[in-house]
């Protein structure tokens, strides 16, 4: 087998022939029409067949033109082959900063697929859904223990949805107090969803600059934290991987002005079990169960964004909440001050099952998660520091944000380094933010990577840094080993945004 570890002697040039390789052939099922093929058999209809044409008259639709005709074999192969084109945690380290791409334990999938959870309907009578209510109750209790909050709503569908729920509760609280406010403060290092969520909660966003250390600038905060500011949305550790060491003062300043301190909990993995956000003066915080709590991201989702709140915000939680009722549990809709509902039903229940499974698996040893996540990140920082620039050199927690400053001098940018990493079999780091680091390379290894994998990644990053010096061309022309090279997304966006020009750019045309 190819020798482990060393990055010497790339293989001899060979004809990849990937167009000849059925397994690497890909494309949309819509590109290869298979007229007349059938994929599914239904039971024979056991009641008289109704005639939709007669029943619906002019509202009747005879067929969904353009839909596929494929056999099960075609479909199973198509999706199996497609999967081979993806990088994933299960194949290698996936250092996508801020996304906490940690190992997704398979026991979570097994438990979530138990028919008793998976095959249950949200409108089944409560007395026939006690297991589901118990699961939600237990997850809320566990999250209360880890965050120190009075209550946690499990309803939001993802982090951004949690941000909105949290901000709406803040807004409702101020309204109830007859103290409507206009603004929300958001640091310039924040993730894009923060300002977006504040906006959709009806606030105007006031940006807060970062100090030289990458943390909140207290004097600027003092200045901007007026009586018209509803809340400060802070991220701890922030998106630079830096812990807000003055968080207690930050809280004081915000509270002094009657504002709420909202914490973006996307980076909870850096301190889960070691610090309770509520203890830091945080009033409300969302968690990304699909990050800290290992639920799989599934190539885009689903996630779940529970929100923890201090006592003052409890009346405003979305309905329903899960409450004890004698031996069992019940759904409580009778909460007059509630902001209402963020979505249908009770949340991404299947994700909640996975998260509780994960929490039970670690139990009270969960601080090890944060400890090793921070240790791994600092190890990578140490190994890569000599080769890449760190704009902010405050102590790192779960992630490190390098810049391409040094490489840019050779005409190589973060995007090039990212693409070249693919040739080494690694997914690129995050580059889209934080905006305060130009040419950012945001690297988060998580706790679930061993030294061998960390070293292989560091070796790759170092090899690329050397290539930037010696043969930048191979980096700027990367990737070389992927089924497609860099796609002209500018051209695609141009086409896609042209009036009337949606197919075949954004969908298959009806043939």
């Amino acid at each position: 087998m190819s020798d482990h570890g060393t990055l010497t002697s790339p293989e001899p040039l060979v004809r990849a022939d990937s167009r000849l390789d059925r397994r690497r052939r890909f494309g949309s099922l819509f590109d290869a029409p298979r007229a007349g093929r059938v994929g599914v058999l239904l039971p024979p209809l056991d009641v008289p067949e109704a005639d939709p044409a007669a029943l619906y008259g002019r509202d009747h639709r005879p067929a969904v033109e353009g839909e596929l005709e494929a056999s099960e074999v075609d479909v199973v192969r198509h999706f199996t082959r497609l999967s081979l084109l993806n990088f994933a945690i299960d194949t290698a380290l996936y250092p996508l900063g801020s996304c906490t791409m940690k190992h997704n334990p398979r026991i979570n999938e097994e438990i979530a697929r138990l028919p008793g959870f998976n095959d249950t309907h949200p409108y089944a009578p409560e007395h026939l859904s006690q297991g589901n209510l118990e699961l939600m109750f237990r997850l809320e209790e566990a999250l209360k223990v880890l965050t120190g909050f009075a209550r946690v709503t499990l309803q939001p569908s993802a982090g951004a949805n949690g941000e909105l729920a949290g901000t709406l509760m803040i807004r409702a609280a101020h309204a109830k107090a007859g103290d409507a406010r206009k603004h929300v403060l958001v640091p310039d290092s924040a993730h894009g969803t923060n300002p977006a969520s504040a906006h959709f909660a009806g606030y105007s966003v006031v940006e807060l600059g970062s100090s030289r250390r990458g943390t909140v600038d207290l004097s600027e905060l003092e200045a901007k934290m007026t009586g018209d500011v509803a809340a400060l949305m802070i991220t701890v550790p922030n998106t630079l991987g830096v812990f807000e060491d003055q968080i207690l003062d930050v809280a004081k300043i915000v509270h002094a002005k009657g504002g709420y301190l909202y914490m973006d909990g996307a980076n909870f993995n850096a301190f889960v079990g070691k610090v309770r956000p509520a203890d830091m003066g945080v009033d409300v915080m969302h968690m990304n169960l699909h990050k800290t709590f290992s639920t799989p991201h599934g190539g885009g989702g689903p996630g779940a964004g529970p929100v923890g709140v201090g006592a003052s915000l409890v009346p405003f939680l979305p309905v329903p909440t899960v409450e004890r009722a004698g031996e069992g549990f019940r759904l409580d809709y009778d909460r007059p001050d509630s902001i209402g509902k963020m979505r249908a039903f009770y949340g991404n229940f299947g994700v909640l099952v996975r998260a509780l499974t994960y929490i039970l698996s670690y139990g009270n040893s969960i601080p090890e998660v944060a400890e090793n996540a921070v240790l791994n990140a600092n190890y990578l920082r140490k190994r890569l520091d000599p080769f890449y620039d760190l704009k902010y050199d405050a102590p790192s927690y779960h992630e490190i944000v390098f810049s391409d400053h040094r490489q840019a001098a050779k005409g190589v940018h973060n995007i090039d380094i990212a693409k070249r990493l693919m040739d080494f079999g690694f997914h690129p780091p995050t580059m889209s933010f934080p905006l305060i680091v130009p040419g950012a390379l945001m690297i988060e290894p998580t706790e679930s990577e061993g030294k061998d994998e960390l070293d292989a990644f560091a070796d790759a990053m170092i090899a690329i840094a050397k290539e930037c010096e010696e043969s930048p061309g191979i980096v700027t022309s990367a990737p070389h080993t992927t089924p497609v090279g860099r796609l002209d997304d500018a051209a695609t966006a141009r086409e896609a945004s042209k009036h009337g020009n949606f197919a075949p750019v954004l969908r298959a045309p009806v043939k």
Binding site: P52, L128, S157, N161, S204, I339, Y346
Partner: protein, 452 residues
């Protein structure tokens, strides 16, 4: 340990490299006042053996549909889920990948999303569909917000009460802090939105007129009334669908003047999973695409002319536009959009049609059965339906459920469950069927009703 590979020795060597004396050193900038050295008040780590025992018992406390004859629907219908789908979803390449930001190493996900967009566009007869929304209710809210952006400076949204109450509740929640008024229009005797009232409610301050079909009472009301009411004032017509199979036999919103179609696509083989994760959809005409929320995948070409797919029109999104984005959504329902895509691929044109015809036929059989009953039951509305209808109960709905339960039947969803706390429709039970409901189950329900 659990899912932490490094051994104690390896951790030591990392610490040494880092130059830290202890783990605590790495947390030095955490205020001591809040730094905890005691483990949290959770039980000790549980092995797989214990977790299976513990949560297996919890799961066993629920009624799972496989053990029952279920008529539960009300926005979530359990249709056939092909066996291969849940097995392929377990492939790590799909399960453990992130959003496909890096196209070259995510063509699998991107191709599937593009196919999902195509399926949704074909079903709704719309031009463009996005990569998925959380679920139906929030998809509806996003559609309303999108409509407001498309029609400058308007303040009113007209909403049919035929739209699922929970969707309307979500709308109120999201709109609470915007200067918009929501006007709700009731349904008539036939269970369809009162067309006159709808037209009357719309005016030049209106940015959207919204209806659902089949609506929450299962009534097929079609799209034209809403389209006409909206277009009379250059407002946007929004059509909600949460039983997607209806589109295999009913005129799609895009063919009847609707500008934005949205709703729930869980019918395509998703497990009900107590109401989530599901998969919301949002589709619109070409004119609206620049205001569409969420992710979009487009076809692209590389320098060698090889074709592929990538995320596109990203300037609409929060990571670039921040507070001026078309939505705050980031993580969506990727894996379940993939599940729906797999299911749609194997159903195909023929399977869609057959499934819809079976659903319709079984519902018609049941409706006919109800109409033939002597007792205190009747079909609440005269309008046409698809696979669900409202059963009017002359006896307490709770009693109906109880008797059915004794026969291992989940008779349906009391309308009261959808709008707790209000007095409306307390006498209605929503009864839904799918292609999975055997005739024996239909007859068993009718027997139960006959027992009153």
């Amino acid at each position: 340990m659990r899912y932490i590979p490094n051994s104690p020795d390896e951790r030591q060597s990392l610490l040494a490299t880092v130059g830290a004396a202890s783990i605590d050193d790495l947390f030095a900038t955490v205020p001591r006042a809040v730094y905890r050295t005691e483990p949290p008040a959770l039980p000790p780590p549980a092995s797989e053996i214990e977790v299976r025992r513990d949560l297996g018992r919890v799961a066993a406390k629920n009624a799972h549909l496989g053990d029952w004859t279920s008529f539960l629907g009300a926005g979530l219908y359990s249709h056939h889920a092909p066996a291969f789908v849940s097995q392929l979803l377990l492939r790590g390449e799909f399960l453990t990948a992130y959003t496909p930001y890096q196209a070259e190493v995510a063509q699998g996900t991107l191709t599937a999303v593009w196919e999902y967009q195509t399926h949704i566009a074909l079903l709704t007869a719309m031009d463009v569909a996005n990569a998925s929304m959380y679920e139906g209710a929030s998809a509806f809210v996003e559609a309303v917000l999108m409509a407001e952006r498309l029609t400058k400076k308007r303040s009113k949204v007209v909403v049919s009460k035929g739209i699922h109450p929970v969707y309307r509740q979500a709308l109120r929640t999201y709109l609470a802090n915007f200067p918009f008024t929501i006007v709700e229009v009731p349904v008539g005797k036939d269970g369809a939105t009162d067309a006159g009232a709808l037209a009357a409610a719309a005016d030049d301050t209106t940015f959207a007129v919204c209806v659902q079909s089949p609506n929450v009472f299962g009534v097929v009301e079609g799209w034209r009334a809403a389209a006409d009411a909206a277009h009379a004032h250059e407002a946007i017509a929004i059509g909600v669908v949460n039983e997607m199979f209806s589109l295999a036999v009913l005129e799609p919103p895009g063919a009847a003047g609707i500008d934005i179609a949205c709703g729930e696509a869980a019918s395509f083989g998703l497990p009900p999973s107590f109401g989530g994760p599901l998969v919301g959809f949002l589709a619109c005409r070409d004119a609206g695409k620049r205001q569409i929320p969420g992710r979009l995948v487009g076809r692209a070409t590389d320098a060698q002319g090889r074709q592929g797919f990538c995320l596109t029109l990203s300037t609409r999104e929060q990571h670039i536009r921040r507070e001026r984005a078309t939505s705050n959504i980031c993580t969506n329902q990727g894996l379940f959009a993939l599940a729906a895509t797999m299911t749609l691929s194997v159903l195909g044109k023929k399977g869609l049609r057959e499934t819809a015809v079976q659903c319709l036929s079984k519902a018609e059989y049941l409706k006919a059965g109800v109409k033939a009953l002597p007792g205190p039951f009747s079909v609440a509305f005269s309008g046409k339906s698809f696979n669900e209808f409202a059963l009017h109960c002359g006896v307490p709905v709770a009693e109906v459920l109880r008797r059915a339960e004794a026969r291992k039947i989940l008779a349906g969803v009391p309308y009261a469950r959808l709008e707790p706390g209000t007095a409306e429709h307390r006498d209605l039970l929503l009864v839904a069927v799918t292609e999975r409901t055997p005739r024996s189950g239909l007859d068993a329900l009718l027997d139960t009703l006959r027992s009153f």
